[in-house]
Amino acid sequence: MSSVADLRDLRAKTQGFAGGVNIRDAVDQIAPDEMVKCENATLTQKGGLDKRLGTQSNGTFGVSADRGLSDYTYYRPGTNPQVLLHTTAGRLYYTNDPSANPIVWTQIASGLSTTTPMSFETFTSKVFFCEGTVYASWDGSTYTTYPSAPLGKYLRLWKDTMWMSGIAALPDRVYSSAAGDATSWPAANWVDILRGDGDAVNSLASDGLFLIVGKQRRISVIYDPSLFANRTADYEKGTESHRCWIHMEDKLYFLSRLGVCWWQGDTSARLISYRIDSLFRPEILNLGALNYAYAYQIGGKCGWALPEAGSTIPTLIIEYYPRLGPVYQISGNIGPGPWVMHRMPLSTFTTVRYGSTEYLYGAHNGANKYMWAFAPVGTDDGATFSTTVQTGYYDMSDPIMYKYLRRVKIVGRGKFTFQLKRNFGNGVYVTKQIDYSQLTDYWTVADAWGVGTWGPDDNVKEAIVNLDAYGRNFAIAITDSETTTGRLTLPVGSKDYSLVMGEWSFYESTFDAQLLGLRK
């Protein structure tokens, strides 16, 4: 008499999402903590996944056809910073309060370049700027031009001196102002970097020690400001945009043709974006418009807005979390961190810290609006945006046998849609609405003892969802169509802080399953 073997129980738990997005690896090679898609979600807490906050328009500038080309925060000790905005109408504006809604923009100058983003630096209590047709300064109330200065496109302050490059007729040339005086430009203060190499300087930066001179194919440094002594620091990686150098803590990052790199000072830079390597292809990014790419830094993250193929204006944001990288046990160094992506309507950025606030602002990429990024709202300028997240495929430690997923316990907060895909397929197999946003039953004076619950609503909740699903391996997809924000409770000792966050968070799924047999 034959007998049927008992089915073996399976328990499997997701391992968090600290690995970020991975579009480089094959679908079956995605690590358990990585995602093949992660758009409009953030990694605020290591391992957790949150919907990002939205963007809020703080009013318009110019006329409807105008767009922002570049912006800059001009800090002034003892008084409010000003934000300067260069637009495609060739106008330069300032505002004393970018948090006002609507912002009051006052014109500083007109007749400027309508295509070349302005470059800014603050020195001797003034902000100096250039865009290829003018070199000028602004002290908060007075606009001054310097007609005899070189008319470059890139400015960088280094060693008490203003440095400039980007003259079309002299593509290798870097100029230096008089020491301590950005209004005076000696006639002999210039040097050609990799003269006649067929390339052109497209960015200037500094790590404090060197003036970094970037071209598309190589990067050099000027290491002696007196003698203009220079050498090539990176012989195979170049830079793409003057506005894509970002300092964050002890590291300096920049955008190259190969991806985002970590500047190493005196040797070839290291790529840190290899998990999104596949992005840097001409079919996906508009390589001809990477000079319009723009970087930002706010909180524990930094990002780069990139123009996708077919667009000259940045449309895709890649966001990096350097603090969430792996810590190497022996050296104590931290390795490359995770990435996420956003489609957020901003093409320029500037961080403004003033008083008790620190916010990220920027120009809208499709309207003449000035935006507050990651604002405490659940929409992008009033429009609904969804999150698109998909993990790799989990085989629950058995790569061959089919499994029956009886139920899943989901830990999170807010309201989102939980989906399953199976067997490396694209189709959605199971869809479950998760709603942790409803308040639980509060105790009232009408309740008898033992009825209902008492106390504040839990922020993070869990629920069991019946799945009744079969498959060999499964991927989790998360999406939503919410337009509101949520809150994250952050314990700080004896006090809990309630922080405004995106509508939902997703922390963990625990599957209750049974192992079935082999299926063709």
Partner: protein
């Protein structure tokens, strides 16, 4: 002389360009203006520059940068 010790500003050079009466060449005009300054040394150290000799006449060094100036036709 080192580059930073040369006491000629771009404003001066622009003035020379603007005052050129179109006789001879602009290069000769610049050389004459530099010579008139009677600098203590007429050579600039350019050993840190690619594709240039270790020293060169100051006037020639300034002429090298003429494309960065506005020359009215």
């Amino acid at each position: 002389m080192n580059q930073r010790d040369i006491p000629i500003t771009r404003e001066q050079v622009q003035g020379w360009i603007d005052s050129w009466d179109k006789t001879g060449t602009i290069e000769d005009h610049i050389r004459a203006e530099v010579e008139a300054l009677k600098l203590p040394d007429d050579q600039v150290n350019t050993f840190t520059h690619d594709s240039l000799p270790d020293t060169m006449p100051i006037a020639d060094f300034i002429i090298e940068d003429l494309p960065s100036y506005v020359v009215s036709s």
